[in-house]
Symmetry: C2
Subunit: 355 residues, 2 copies
């Protein structure tokens, strides 16, 4: 569960006085934060604690995360000259050392529990760069992709390479799967997504396609719960043999689910999972993504604060609707709300395990 930490008192006490990006880049802290929800809730996999803009910081972009605001850049990057200066920056292998170290520490602590690597999708990164800060409609980014497609394509190729290197470092250090997180893709029409975004997302994921996870996946293990398949369409559970599984997730992406599956395919990912937010029932999502693709999701975070019988019925419904997929990574359909009672999350995990 992404952002499970922020509902935990042990997370809030660990983060006290330490900025978000500083936490991400401090290996013992990033490791501890990654482990906290696993210890607390007994989930079947950990998700690496990081932030979408970490690769930007590592490439030397002046970005900070302001509490209550989000990522703020030193400037908005939206002219051809801005972008030309930006793409000269590279994400060196040396800069990724704290990421490798945190992943290796985490994997060692996790024992048999797999670690899912995490990275932001090229469009979402580019949207932050072009706007210079969070925005509701990502207007400047969407303007740029139409007004100057060449500059746009140059920008997202660069953010794709950054995120690709970031994910690749995590897999080489021991992550058993990756998740590419496109927070803002839902603001796009299908046509814009396919023409100006999907190619860069595929470019990012191709950096890990075919890589074997090096640790923590017991032979024959399957990261997805609920089915014997591994999502590669051959109907067998050949685990890490086909390269690391990849999950591609966004919110408000009901109209993009098929295109997001195509991104995974184009990237050469054999074990494909599409993440589905709480708006689209999983049986409908499955009809959209087709056979051979696993699903992740999609418990509605709003129901975590509802009475238990309401939440339990919803959890059972989600699991039942996902049962026909080759694999189903049971998860929330969005991040954990900060005010969530951690005991409720634990009970959800127990309920899913008992089904």
């Amino acid at each position: 569960m992404r952002q499970a930490g922020r509902s935990l008192p042990e997370y809030r006490s660990l983060r006290e006085g330490i900025g978000m990006l500083d936490s991400c880049l401090n290996p013992p802290i990033a490791t501890e934060i990654t482990l906290q929800p696993v210890r607390r809730h007994g989930v079947d996999a950990a998700i690496f604690f990081s932030d979408i803009v970490v690769p930007l910081r590592l490439a030397g972009v002046d970005v900070d995360i302001k509490p209550g605001v989000g990522p703020v850049m030193d400037q908005a990057y939206r002219t051809p000259e801005d972008v030309a200066r930006l793409v000269e920056r590279t994400l060196d292998d040396d800069a990724l050392a704290p990421i490798r170290e945190a992943v290796a520490l985490t994997v060692a602590e996790l024992g048999g529990t797999p670690l899912i690597g995490f990275g932001g999708a090229p469009f979402t990164l580019a949207a932050y760069l072009v706007e210079g800060r969070p925005s509701r409609d990502h207007l400047a980014a969407r303007t740029l992709m139409h007004a100057d497609p060449q500059t746009w394509d140059r920008l997202v190729a660069w953010t794709a390479d950054l995120t690709g290197a970031f994910l690749r470092a995590q897999v080489l250090a021991g992550a058993s799967a990756v998740q590419l997180f496109d927070s803002w893709a839902g603001s796009l029409s299908l046509a814009d997504y396919q023409a100006r975004v999907a190619p860069s997302s595929a470019r990012a994921l191709s950096a890990v396609a075919g890589l074997r996870a090096v640790a923590n996946v017991p032979a024959g293990a399957d990261l997805s719960a609920g089915g014997p398949g591994d999502g590669d369409g051959d109907g067998t559970g050949d685990g890490a043999g086909v390269g690391v599984p990849a999950i591609h997730f966004g919110t408000g992406t009901g109209h993009l689910l098929g295109a997001m599956r195509d991104v995974l395919t184009t990237a050469g990912i054999a074990d494909r999972t599409v993440g589905v937010d709480y708006r689209t029932p999983l049986d409908e999502a499955l009809a959209l993504v087709g056979d051979g693709v696993s699903l992740q999701g999609n418990i509605d975070p709003a129901l975590l604060a509802a009475p238990w019988d309401v939440l339990e019925a919803h959890v059972r419904d989600v699991v039942a609707r996902g049962a026909q997929a080759p694999g189903h990574v049971v998860n929330l359909g969005h991040g954990v709300p900060p005010e969530t009672d951690p005991a409720v999350l634990t009970r959800v995990v127990e309920t899913v395990h008992a089904l």
Copy 2:
């Protein structure tokens, strides 16, 4: 075009030193702001300058619009007791006097140009009340509808009656059509929308169903451009004879378009228009809403800042895709961005008129 004003220097100068809600409740100011984009751009209809939360203020709820934040209430209304106290408030006919006055003034100034009335949908109003302020995911509102459906239903029945009375007052004072604006409906699954939101939206619109527009509609006139039908499915252009036309709009509602059409039908609106945001091409929207329903939309606001040839091609494409609908109210697929060059909007209107 909703929020066309905020890109105009004459709007900014008129608003200087006057709060948003004070502007809405001052008839000469609301009239002038409503007229400004009509004078500037020569559009075929005006949309009444107001705000979604105006009926709340008129019913005595302590709400203000903070610049850069949005509507902020004195408290979050989320317990059964909060809601019970709220629904005791009524929106008296007297309180609506400044609205009637502004509409009457506007209609007199507009001459033959029709005025479209404006009101926020019950869900969006309820989301502000339950959260107490703007929020990204409307979690507390979505929690309440599942945790305590009875309290939720009581709340949205009340906001529906408020908005219904607000729209009705506008029509009786001379508005030729109404638009029900559900800003946040896109955050809902179809199932939640149908069960806990659609009935209240229909309740709001039923307050104007069958009302005849009293002014400004020339005999046989049709508010929608592009077809002889009036959207009532009988294939004739019987104009105001079937009651005021109603437009139902939301953003991110591609998965809800059919359900939003059903709201219009259930309300008893004969001349139905579904507003479509920029994400869904109008030919696809038409396939979703079916025959006999007109469309509004859906020029992408992001393209207003693109080079003219890019924008012009997009405008032509929007008009072409909407051509098969019984009527097409050419409009933006979302509000006008504040930094838009007004000359570009004028040129868009000229281009559409020349097609």
